[in-house]
Symmetry: C2
Subunit: 328 residues, 2 copies
């Protein structure tokens, strides 16, 4: 694994692909490779793109790659796929729409169809970002489908967060927006030719305004709301995405100029440490219980009501843990 | 906490509300109350409802409550709210649309706006189900907003899973459906008066058929696809939801008659044990690192590149863990 880290450091694309595949498979000693490359990380600008399914994030990402390539910036993309809990398979594959960049050595697109429970996805994303970072990508785009808690965790790894909204998604989206308000650095209203786009724009602007009133403008960044034209007019689409690109870079520059980048870096690092601890402390315990067949026996005992999950968990903690925080 | 468990067992609604509030706040010794009630659980039929934001799940849940009340069945509802990572606040509150049931003692609705990282949400849901179960609710509906991995984990706690689709949500939804196919026991096409409902119905039916071809019909249950009429016609809406109610009960009866209920119970219990171990092993470690200020210092060291999250996680594991699975 250390060797794999060294090869990635040397710019070996095949090694990078293999390492990302290992992250996805949650191979336990992958951390050794990431450990190896960590010191060289931190140079890329990480851009998170999130929003509800159907909001057109993949198309937007594809166009954003093109917009950055126009400026000769190199781009890495980590597309987080929703996975099935049973097959663990990727559903969207390597995002068909991005295939036009497949031949471009300045673009590196990988899907992460991370499986497994509780925290594994966000962990793999944080590590995948490091891999693309040491490959020297100027911009790393993390695209995640969804608007749940999990997506918020994933987005913690980004410097600049784009939330994509789309007209006609009903009331719940409005409520979600209130939560997204706090994580969004830029709102994009996609499919802006659709009915209801004007209304959505106004509502989002109002929410940005309310948020300014609530939190003050001390942080100085007023979350912009950008309208992106329909894909039915390719030229206009490209143009509006170039406006988005410039706004993204403006946000990054703003973070740097105002000494706010360190705050983002802290958030990123906090997420990473937490996820690494998950990988070192909890994941091996669960894995052993699974492979030894003990999990199966524990399930049987609970079903017979001989015991309960909480007593079992306490037993496990006592068996595996040297020190019990909070119980001393 | 044990006392709180005993009061819930005695049917004390205020104690139940308090316990659910504690679960939501992830108060660490809450497990003692759940331990106390566990033996009395397992009597309720747990129904999971999931789907993309804007799919109309709350309205559907509200009508489903009414449909069950018509039959004098008692209903508990756990509505999982998307939360902000910063304020941790509930966004949707106690689902405004369900307020019409507020005065009905046969209905117990609670929102779970669970906060905190990595697994806490699903854990609170599993425990909240137990609370409603010992209160004697015939049906427990778990409504979760979203279609990510997190939602799939939550839905593991259900016997019968309903996936709500809605016309006009774009391509990604179609891809997601493939993943949802494996968890769905019943598909509901909501807002069936909208343009594209017929197309969505056909596509979903095709997918069900393909899935039958792939997995065979050995399990005997053919996932039905139900069309639910628009809320613009209240009478028709109620009628179509009564059809859904009967289909849900048919599925539960099918599980029982075919001895498949134990498989669902295993899945439920496996999720619960995993989450309890998370609560006993990982959560206290993270909490101590946070409260002692060590997390802050670790972040500083990583930012200075003095160390990396993976080496730190290994140190933490060595400090806290007696036995290192997989390293022996």
């Amino acid at each position: 694994m250390k060797e794999l880290g060294k090869r990635v450091l040397a710019g070996d694309i095949r090694a990078a692909s293999r390492l990302i595949r290992n992250l996805e498979d949650q191979i336990t000693d992958t951390y050794i490779a990431i450990q190896e490359i960590f010191k060289e990380t931190g140079k890329s600008h990480v851009i998170g793109i999130t929003g509800a399914p159907g909001a057109g994030k993949s198309t937007l990402t594809d166009e954003l790659i093109a917009a950055y390539r126009k400026q000769d910036k190199t781009v890495g993309v980590l597309a987080v796929d929703p996975t099935s809990p049973f097959t663990g398979g990727a559903l969207l594959g390597d995002r068909i729409r991005m295939l036009r960049h497949a031949e471009d050595p300045g673009v590196f697109v990988r899907s992460l169809a991370t499986r497994g429970a509780m925290g594994g996805i966000s962990k793999a994303v944080g590590e995948g970002i490091h891999v693309m970072d040491v490959l020297g990508k100027d911009k790393i785009i993390v695209e995640t489908v969804g608007v749940g808690q999990q997506e918020v965790e994933i987005i913690n790894h980004a410097h600049t967060v784009i939330v994509v909204l789309v007209p006609g998604m009903g009331d719940e989206i409005q409520a979600l927006k209130a939560g997204l308000m706090e994580i969004a650095d830029i709102f994009v209203i996609n499919k802006a030719d659709r009915e209801g786009a004007g209304k959505l724009y106004k509502e989002t602007m109002n929410m940005v305004q309310m948020s300014r009133d609530k939190y003050g403008v001390s942080k100085g960044w007023v979350t912009p709301v950008l309208l992106v034209e329909s894909v039915l007019e390719p030229h206009k689409f490209a143009e509006s995405v170039e406006v988005l690109r410039d706004k993204i870079d403006e946000h990054y520059q703003f973070l740097i100029d105002n000494n706010l980048i360190s705050e983002r870096m802290r958030r990123k690092t906090a997420a990473e440490i937490t996820e690494a601890i998950w990988g070192s402390v909890l994941a091996p315990v669960l894995e052993q219980l699974e492979t030894s067949g003990e999990m199966k026996r524990m399930i049987d005992r609970c079903l017979l009501k001989e015991t309960d999950p909480y007593s079992l968990a306490e037993e496990i903690a006592q068996r595996f843990m040297k020190q019990r925080p909070g119980t001393s």
